[in-house]
């Protein structure tokens, strides 16, 4: 796809060396395709030339493991304390003493937690948010997911503050030292955000072992980037006048930062916090593979055993928790408390907080006398498992033929041809064409990004797996765009449709990637088709969003001008709206590609045969070198796609005189 687009970009260049280079490269590609035996090493990367990068990575990891175990053990010990405390508080309670004399300090009552969430909802967003929070938390309790949910929640409770602290600190450095930001922090964040989630688990697994602390660390690292970016951006966006004010009242640099700049940037910081929470949830679910436990682990078990009911239930609990955390943290971002009255007692200045604490303490104390308040008896919970199973069975009985026909034809007519084409594509030609595209779109600088990164995929011997990744990612992106862009266009035309679709998109965007797999796998079994559908569901949101926004952000005056000039609605659309929305739509495509890539990797769990599978296998075998190398290759693919598409969007923008 990037090839087709880059050719388009080339047309606007003057005919010159460029055109010649393109013609030669294309001709060479065709020739290599037709006569693959002429230069076999240019078609298939020769195995003797593979650089043993993976072995080197393994050696590094082993070195770290051997000589820095004091450090990793120290970190584990330190983090175990808050983690143990929070899991004790929310999930497990504490046991003091041993044997028959041991007595338990109970965990916080579930009734209290439901009430606390409800009160928080009311304080932050009124009755609506309160009922949403109450409903979601009650769902979790009644459908028997409480214990796992609390375990997941306690990991988040520990990981998120850690993440915020570190993220804000790095963000401040980035703000104070723009050079460090441009050359160290930003590239590192870009890299971190394209490395697949799995790849974070591997080093943690090796350094910290299979336990919740490793999961917390992996989660914290994975979730840091948005906090860093939000912090730097928030500080940069503080109006110059506020900064001047800080100087004029005689703030020391430290006073200015903590008392003027950071508080003024609060709204944006809170957006960062919201993103951190959502990413942390996403990661905690995936980290169940290295011993995090909780909801993710339940889903993983169910997926492995193809148990529809439990999988759906745990999956829905994740959905519900995701929605609650998202809405509450979003509301907290815009929440403005009333001014505290000096001298008044705490419960008067912070009525909601005091009330919530009171409820938590009282219900927990009551649970000593009345155990059902501590944990809901099994008999009181409801299971939807049989229902889900029945529903899936019913679909399979009645529509198996249709589903199967759909699945088979997708494989035979779309997936396999694309796959064969890409896997047969000469690697040298691909590297050349991509570099040329880089040159056309962004000059030598972009070549310096594209060439080494694509070469890495070839040189490490991962070329075929990379192409397998690209194939699924490409098909998923294409389908997402084919469906998403028209939906976005329609949403831009109809306010009612937009109002209808916005909450759906919000929810889709909130959900951890894991959740998309569960329902699809029930219908389509494991394999590429399932991966494809789950990926499309996950990646379609930006395609719709950006298209809609791209059309809607066009100034009304331009549309009026078109109308006054006598454009028909069709002409207005094709000649004014679409061209002006194009840069925005391209950014949407960029996002779609990156989301698709990240999702494809997670789909390794359901049996794809790409780089994700490579990481997944490495994870199972604890083979650090192999997993990390594949992870880096995935990140590089993501970075190359991102840079090329962004350059393309920039070009579209400058063609319109917008940039």
């Amino acid at each position: 796809m990037s090839r087709a687009l880059s050719i388009e970009g080339m047309v606007s260049e003057p005919v010159s060396f460029h055109a010649l280079a393109w013609a030669a490269a294309l001709l060479g590609t065709v020739l290599l395709f037709v006569f693959p035996d002429a230069l076999p090493w240019a078609v298939k990367y020769p195995s003797w030339a593979v650089v043993p990068f993976a072995d080197a990575m393994s050696a590094v990891m082993n070195f770290l493991k051997t000589y820095f175990s004091w450090l990793t053990r120290g970190i584990t010990d330190v983090l175990s304390v808050p983690l143990g405390f929070v899991t004790g508080l929310l999930a497990k309670g504490w046991k003091i003493g041993s044997g028959p004399d041991a007595w338990m300090i109970p965990r916080v009552s579930w009734v209290g937690i439901v009430a606390a969430f409800t009160i928080a909802g009311y304080a932050l967003g009124g009755a609506r948010l309160a009922s949403l929070a109450a409903g979601c938390m009650l769902y979790v309790a009644i459908f028997g997911q409480w214990d796992s949910t609390m375990l997941t929640l306690s990991l988040i409770v520990v990981a998120v503050p850690l993440c915020i602290l570190i993220g804000v600190a790095i963000g401040i450095v980035g703000f104070r030292r723009p050079g460090v930001d441009a050359f160290v922090i930003s590239p590192a964040l870009d890299f971190m955000q394209t490395v697949p989630t799995f790849a974070y688990l591997l080093p943690m697994l090796l350094l910290f072992g299979t336990n919740p602390v490793a999961a917390v660390i992996a989660t914290a690292i994975f979730s840091i980037p948005p906090m860093v970016r939000a912090t730097t951006l928030a500080l940069q966006r503080v109006p110059a006048e506020i900064d001047d004010l800080g100087s004029m009242v005689g703030c020391s640099p430290r006073q200015k930062l903590y008392r003027v700049l950071l508080p003024s940037g609060r709204p944006l910081l809170m957006v960062g916090v919201n993103q951190v929470i959502m990413l942390a949830l996403n990661m905690v679910i995936i980290a169940s593979m290295i011993g995090a436990g909780g909801l993710g682990y339940d889903v993983l078990l169910a997926l492995r055993a193809l148990k529809i009911g439990p999988g759906m239930e745990a999956g829905l609990a994740i959905v519900v928790i995701a929605i609650v955390l998202d809405r509450l943290s979003q509301a907290a971002a815009t929440y403005r408390p009333a001014a505290a009255i000096p001298g008044a007692p705490v419960w008067q200045n912070h009525p909601y907080l005091s009330f919530a604490l009171l409820v938590l303490v009282v219900t927990t104390l009551l649970s000593l006398a009345f155990p059902p308040l501590g944990s809901l008896p099994k008999a009181w919970t409801v299971s939807t498992g049989p229902m889900w199973k029945a529903a899936i069975d019913w679909i399979n009985v009645n529509y198996f033929d249709a589903i199967d026909a759909f699945r088979t034809s997708l494989i035979v007519w779309v997936l396999n041809p694309v796959r064969n084409f890409l896997e047969g594509f000469p690697w040298l030609a691909a590297v050349t064409l991509l570099s040329l595209a880089g040159y056309t779109l962004g000059g030598l600088r972009l070549v310096l990004v594209v060439l080494p990164l694509t070469l890495f995929c070839a040189v490490t011997g991962l070329w075929e797996k990379s192409m397998a990744t690209l194939y699924l990612c490409g098909v998923a992106t294409a389908i997402s765009l084919l469906i998403g862009v028209p939906i976005g266009l329609y949403a831009a035309r109809s306010d009612r449709f937009q109002a209808f679709i916005t909450p759906i998109l919000d929810t889709l965007q909130t959900l951890p990637s894991f959740c998309f797999i569960i329902p699809v796998v029930m219908l389509f079994r494991v394999g590429d088709v399932t991966a494809l559908i789950a990926t499309v569901l996950f990646a379609i949101v930006p395609a719709i969003r950006y298209t809609n926004h791209g059309i809607r952000q066009i100034p009304v005056s331009l549309i009026e001008a078109a109308k006054v000039s006598g454009c028909t609605p069709r002409q207005t659309f094709w000649r004014v709206q679409l061209p002006l929305a194009l840069p925005e739509i391209m950014l949407g495509i960029n996002q779609t590609v990156l989301l698709a890539l990240s999702m494809i990797i997670i789909c390794a769990m359901i049996g794809t045969r790409d780089l994700g599978q490579e990481v997944f296998i490495a994870l199972a075998k604890a083979d650090a070198g192999r997993g990390i190398t594949a992870g880096i290759a995935i990140a590089f693919i993501g970075i190359v796609a991102d840079r090329l598409l962004r350059a393309l969007a920039r070009r579209a923008q400058s063609n319109l005189g917008l940039a």
Binding site: P239, E241, I242, D244, L245, S247, M248, V249, G250, C251, S252, Q255, R259, V260, P263, S264, R266, R336, A339, I341
Partner: protein
């Protein structure tokens, strides 16, 4: 007329003996990589072509100013004229490229970071165009903020904050957040905050540009009232000539980074230094800035024929209705009450009608 207390000072400014509070000498601010070498090689002789060739932006060009204690000094110019940069150089929010800024005779540019913090904490206050209120603090906390930065104890800073809040008539709003106030009220908070530390030099950076015209007038009156009580050294930036004339003892007009004229409102209107200044002041009602001494002619009538006596420093507008109604000449007296000249009522009518001398010769008997 509306703000007499300020205007009476303007005549005194001509022979002002008050000490200079803040001044700048040969002050330059040039943006661009080769700012210093450009200044060394070209300096004040630089032509617009030189500036373009060196790829620099000259924001403040060789400015010399003296602002005296208790004076309301206006820096006036269109956007991009460098007035904001100039004032930021005076407070060293912007580091000047060359020149001196003298506060009480001491070069501010030599002050260390710590000294600068101390000077700003105790000697300077600033009001900002878009208020620059801290969104997470209440009115009281915002006003007390400069004191809190200095580490003043809570009770002390709050009682001082309440004092200045009362001064700007915002009592009762102490526990509001800025977002709950109107624009005018927000700027009152900004004013109160800048006064909380009892500054000696008070910078106001286009304080009313973001306000509606009616509120603007009200706030101008407020500043005039405050200044009549507080007598601060004020450096006030504006792009509004009416505002400048209403409030200023002296006005500096800036264009392309240069100060092209400094003078009392009367000087600027009557004797503009360049066509640019004349353009600026064209629509200013003459009667409001002109004092009686400007329209005065030698004594020609005996005192019993006068419709009244005015002081030579009085603005024409202040006695115009009386002289027009009386249809008699008015005597003009100096400081000691001695009549030194007289004003014909026809001349006042001409002035009010905007008729220049030569035209009046032709049309009126």
């Amino acid at each position: 007329m509306s703000i007499p207390s300020l205007k009476t000072l303007s005549a005194a400014a001509a022979v002002d003996q008050r000490p200079v509070k803040i001044a700048c000498e040969s002050l330059w601010k040039i943006y661009g990589e080769n700012a210093r070498s450009f200044l060394r090689s070209k300096g004040a002789a630089a032509s617009p072509e030189d500036i373009a060739a060196a790829n620099v932006v000259v924001a403040v060009k060789n400015v010399n100013l003296k602002v005296r204690e208790g004076e309301t000094f206006i820096v006036m110019g269109l956007s991009g004229s460098g007035k904001s940069t100039l004032v930021r150089c005076l407070s060293r929010l912007v580091e000047p490229t060359a020149g001196q800024v003298l506060l009480d005779g001491k070069d501010l540019l030599q002050a260390t970071d710590t000294e600068l913090i101390e000077i700003r904490r105790h000697k300077m206050g600033m009001v900002f165009q878009n208020f620059a209120l801290l969104p997470h603090l209440t009115v009281l906390e915002n006003v007390a903020f400069p004191l809190s930065v200095q580490g003043a104890p809570r009770a002390e800073r709050e009682s001082r904050a309440r004092e200045v809040i009362e001064l700007v008539s915002l009592t009762g709003r102490e526990n509001f957040y800025p977002r709950e106030l109107s624009g005018g009220q927000q700027q009152r908070v900004g004013i109160a905050r800048s006064l909380a530390v009892r500054p000696e030099v008070w910078f106001l950076d286009e304080p009313f540009s973001a306000l509606d015209p009616l509120i603007r007038r009200e706030m101008q009156a407020e500043i005039a009232r405050l200044q009549s009580v507080l007598k601060k050294t004020v450096v006030f930036i504006t792009h509004d000539i009416d505002e400048a004339i209403r409030l200023g003892d002296r006005i500096a007009i800036m264009k392309d980074g240069e100060v092209i004229q400094v003078g009392t409102p009367e000087d600027l209107v009557i004797e503009p230094a360049t066509p640019y200044v004349a353009d600026f002041t064209r629509d200013v009602p003459r009667a409001k800035v002109m004092s009686a001494s400007r329209l005065m002619k030698p004594v020609a009538h005996s005192p019993e024929n006068y419709g009244g006596i005015v002081r030579s420093t009085d603005k024409i507008a202040s006695f115009a209705p009386a002289i027009v109604r009386a249809k008699k000449p008015f005597g003009v007296a100096d400081e000691s009450g001695v009549v030194v000249g007289e004003i014909a009522f026809e001349d006042v009518i001409d002035l009010l009608a905007g008729v220049s001398d030569r035209e009046s010769d032709g049309r009126l008997p």
